[in-house]
């Protein structure tokens, strides 16, 4: 219904949606989904939802392999992708001390995750390049705990 916002018909490639009316197939919302492995739970919204996203790790055609990283969500302004900030300490030998550094990471956010906002902690898994800068896909979201002022969090 409302997921057909593009100019082409959005559907999951590979599942046939038009068996004849006389046949007894009554499964409304024929949906294909998979388990991404590595112990990540597949969200309920992915199984029961109606969204179509070919880059979603559960209902799309990407596989998660390679690195699994985590970070803090910085911005959710893009369509179906977010920026994740990963902070780390870099050791400077001359001074025997550390300095703070960070790297931003663009990750694809499946519509299965609703209500992700800046500050949430997110686990992302590596997949094939989905766009010029996106090579990761969000696998798990943990809401940020309402604590005190912003603190440096090393992962």
């Amino acid at each position: 219904m409302s997921e057909q916002v593009e100019k082409a018909f959005q559907k999951q490639v590979g599942i046939f949606q038009n068996p004849k009316a006389s046949k007894k197939v009554k499964a409304k919302n024929l949906r294909w989904y998979k388990d991404v492995g590595l112990g990540f739970k597949t969200p309920k919204e992915a199984i029961e939802g109606h969204y179509i996203d070919k880059k979603c790790p559960w209902t799309g055609e990407v596989s998660i392999r390679g690195r699994i990283l985590s970070g803090v969500v910085v911005s959710v302004k893009m369509k179906r992708t977010i920026i994740v900030r990963r902070e780390y300490l870099h050791y400077v030998t001359k001074y025997n001390r550390y300095e703070k550094r960070h790297k931003n990471l663009a990750a694809h956010l499946s519509p299965a995750f609703v209500g992700v906002s800046p500050g949430d902690i997110v686990t992302v898994g590596q997949c094939r390049p989905l766009s010029k800068t996106v090579r990761f896909n969000v696998l798990k979201v943990q809401k940020r705990i309402q604590k005190g002022p912003k603190q440096f969090a090393k992962f």
């Binding site: 018909f9 046949k23 800068t133």
Partner: protein
């Protein structure tokens, strides 16, 4: 020409302009688009990386199309390109690409249906004195007749599809890549997809 598919000419993720430190390589090459049109078959073979071949269809007039709900596939003539989600120019110039909505000739499917179910499909309201087609009134052996009777309930066709059969043209979508494999194959639109595209086409007109 010199179409290349590298990303070294693009700015990096941070926005920095990347300096060019090497020439274009052959493994990064890109070729001119095929832009297959409708017409008598013309296919050029291209030698690609690894010694393999690609068949660049420059003109095609027919393809192998499936009728999903009946699970049959027939080779049919392509009549016209009717809708393209990416570019209206491709519709105007009748360019065959993957994902283009086209109209195909319905006769092979109608013939199969009438032979399989012995029921008329897409016939206009009977004019007085019009004889039934040879397919429908053919004399059949008892074995064949029994088979046909057992298929009777399955012979219902979606009304949207039935209308298309009366005009002799079905809406289908191309699912192969004519510029890569040299064929325009696909499936007939049915159900939700058909309604979606019919609405798009109507709102265009």
């Amino acid at each position: 020409m010199g179409i290349s598919r590298d990303s070294r000419h693009k700015r990096s993720h941070t926005g920095a302009k990347r300096a060019q430190y090497r020439k274009k390589r052959k493994f990064e090459l890109g070729r001119q688009p095929g832009n297959t049109k409708l017409g008598p078959k013309r296919i050029h073979e291209v030698r690609v990386r690894g010694g393999n071949r690609k068949f660049r269809a420059l003109r095609l007039d027919s393809g192998n199309f499936s009728w999903g709900s009946e699970s049959i596939t027939k080779k049919t003539r392509i009549i016209a390109v009717v809708y393209n989600a990416s570019n209206n120019e491709l519709v105007r110039t009748n360019t065959l690409v993957k994902g283009a909505i086209i109209q195909i000739d319905a006769t092979p499917f109608r013939q199969w249906f009438e032979a399989h179910y012995a029921q008329p499909l897409g016939r206009r309201k009977k004019k007085e004195g019009q004889a039934e087609s040879e397919e429908l009134s053919k004399k059949r052996s008892k074995h064949v007749q029994r088979k046909i009777d057992s298929r009777k309930e399955d012979a219902k066709v979606d009304p949207l599809l039935d209308d298309q059969f009366t005009t002799g043209r079905l809406y289908a979508i191309i699912r192969s890549r004519p510029g890569q494999v040299g064929r325009a194959d696909g499936y007939i639109l049915e159900g939700k997809e058909l309604e979606f595209y019919v609405r798009k086409i109507k709102s265009k007109k």
